[in-house]
């Protein structure tokens, strides 16, 4: 019974997800988001080399992010010179594996 009363006093309740999103969950490790205007071919190569999971690939004029492979480690954010930040997305489940491949156009100039 004690745990029940303690729970009431502290106001800890069951999440309302999926009716309402939990804001705190956006601070969990999450895949990166890129500023394509700051992204250069040279930076894309460095990001692809820094990704330990091989989830980033420099493919021609695009940087390909595989959300399925991303472990949210944040190494690309460190390497990225402000062009990369954590996205905070967690509702990423998909029926289609190819929907998890995101192409980010490289728009920055050297």
């Amino acid at each position: 019974m004690l745990w029940f009363l303690r729970g009431i006093r502290k106001g800890i309740v069951t999440t309302r997800y999926p009716a309402a999103r939990d804001a705190w969950a956006e601070q969990l490790p999450s895949p990166p988001r890129f500023r394509s205007d700051l992204l250069t071919a040279e930076l894309a190569d460095r990001l692809a080399a820094a990704c330990p999971a091989g989830a980033l690939r420099h493919d021609g004029g695009d940087l390909v992010l595989d959300l399925g492979g991303c472990t949210g480690c944040g190494r690309c954010v460190e390497v990225g010179d402000g062009a990369v930040a954590a996205s905070g997305e967690y509702e990423l489940a998909s029926r289609d594996r190819t929907a998890l491949l995101k192409r980010i156009p490289i728009r920055g100039s050297e």
């Binding site: 069951t14 890129f34 205007d37 492979g69 949210g72 509702e91 594996r97 929907a99």
Partner: protein, 164 residues
């Protein structure tokens, strides 16, 4: 999508509609580091409380409707994985959980397949390392058709906005 595929998908969806209110989950660890398992276990905690959504864990694959697979599909687990899948009655759903299961962490070699869909067909992919319990809940709700997968509409590139 061809007409046959469309039809197959429709029949599949009709089967999945059976699961909208109650569904039993069998988990399968195909060689994961056990962090996915720890997140899956958290689903039963009072905070996430997956029973309120009609999901239940079952230890018996014959009682299960959904197979939740984590890990990079080590080859040593092939037989167990296939037997588990066969023991689950149709219609059944396979959900691959975590970056390992989706082909992120390990590449294919003599010990691992590196991805679950190299061994069995996967219906829903849940990314994350580990996927948080909320991500798992979203994956389960997508699997039973109670939520739409929204990842296709998400953008991971920004042009002018700040990345804050």
């Amino acid at each position: 999508m061809s007409e046959e595929q469309q039809l197959a998908r429709e029949i599949q969806q009709r089967g999945f509609a059976l699961f909208r209110r109650s569904l039993h989950i069998r988990t399968f660890d195909s060689g994961s580091c056990a962090v996915c398992e720890s997140e899956i276990r958290l689903l039963s905690s009072p905070y996430y409380d997956l029973h309120r959504l009609g999901f239940f864990f079952t230890p018996a694959p014959r009682h299960a409707d959904l197979l939740l697979v984590s890990g990079p599909a080590v080859r040593a687990a092939d037989t167990a994985l296939l037997k588990t899948l066969e023991a689950i009655p149709d219609p059944r759903i396979v959900v691959a959980v975590g970056a390992c299961a989706l082909g992120g962490v390990f590449s294919e070699d003599v010990l691992v397949h590196g991805r679950v869909d190299a061994v069995i067909p996967v219906d829903v992919h849940v990314p994350g390392c580990p996927p948080s319990p909320l991500a798992l809940l979203h994956g389960l709700l997508v699997a039973v058709g109670r939520l739409e997968d929204k990842v296709r509409a998400l953008r991971f590139d920004l042009r002018q906005e700040t990345t804050a």
